[in-house]
């Protein structure tokens, strides 16, 4: 069973307006790489220099990956990866 990725409104122009994407992968980084193959340009919106941008939140099920292994966080079949823009400003 694949992983489900939930795409925020702002990035749906890159995913043919799809809100949910089904994709295979055993780590968050692998899922993003596979999304990049299908939807070129999405990786650059999420990652810089090997880490997720601070203004992007990525969750596996209900868990913020920053509190786990970041982009190396392991995934299980059926997991839901949610991407949200972090609302922050100084």
């Amino acid at each position: 069973m694949p992983i489900t990725v939930i795409i925020p409104t702002r990035l749906r122009s890159l995913t043919n307006q799809q809100k949910r994407i089904a994709i295979e992968g055993v780590k968050v980084s692998e899922v993003i790489e596979r999304m990049e193959q299908q939807y070129p340009g999405i990786r650059a919106k999420l990652i810089f220099d090997g880490s997720a941008y601070h203004f992007i939140n990525i969750y596996v099920n209900d868990n913020d990956i920053r509190l786990h292994d970041g982009l190396a966080t392991n995934l299980q079949d059926g997991d839901i990866v949610t991407i949200l823009p972090a609302l922050t400003a100084d």
Binding site: R10, D62, D64, P85, A86, L87, T88, A89
Partner: protein, 147 residues
């Protein structure tokens, strides 16, 4: 133009003054595509700073999931400025992520009075808009304040 119920404005200002000198933040959700702010949800400022706000990531996920289940979107995204005027700072503009949202800023420094201002921010462009405060909505629209 942002049309908003006076009770929601009062609630935002009360929250901002209560949290001062820490910046307050939150959203007002409404039915997707409606442009009606109805359900006020104060957010925790994870930064607990007087010049910086950051929605608590865990709370944000729960709130966004709930909005999705209710077919809502953030109609208003608000925060306070505790020592500067109610105008978006550079980072407000760079990090604004919801082009359909009204970005409301509440100044809590007495010099600027507690008058809210609203902005649309898209593609790093800021446009101030009129705020029309009303005493009632259409009868079918129900306000809700989330504790």
């Amino acid at each position: 133009m942002l049309t908003i119920h006076a009770r929601l404005v009062d609630a935002m200002i009360a929250q901002a003054l209560n949290d001062h000198p820490v910046e307050t933040c939150g959203i007002i959700a409404g039915p997707a595509g409606s442009n009606w702010p109805l359900r006020l949800i104060p957010m925790r400022n994870a930064a607990q700073s007087d010049n910086f706000f950051q929605f608590d990531p865990q709370q944000q996920l729960q709130v966004w999931k709930e909005m999705s289940a209710r077919c809502e979107e953030p109609v208003v995204i608000y925060h306070s400025h505790t020592s500067s005027q109610a105008y978006p700072r550079r980072s407000d503009v760079e990090l604004a992520t919801e082009p359909q949202a009204h970005y409301v800023i509440i100044p809590t420094q007495h010099l600027y009075q507690a008058e809210i201002r609203s902005f649309r921010i898209a593609d790093q462009m800021v446009i101030e808009e009129r705020v029309r405060i009303v005493r009632q909505y259409q009868p079918e629209l129900e306000l809700q304040m989330v504790a």
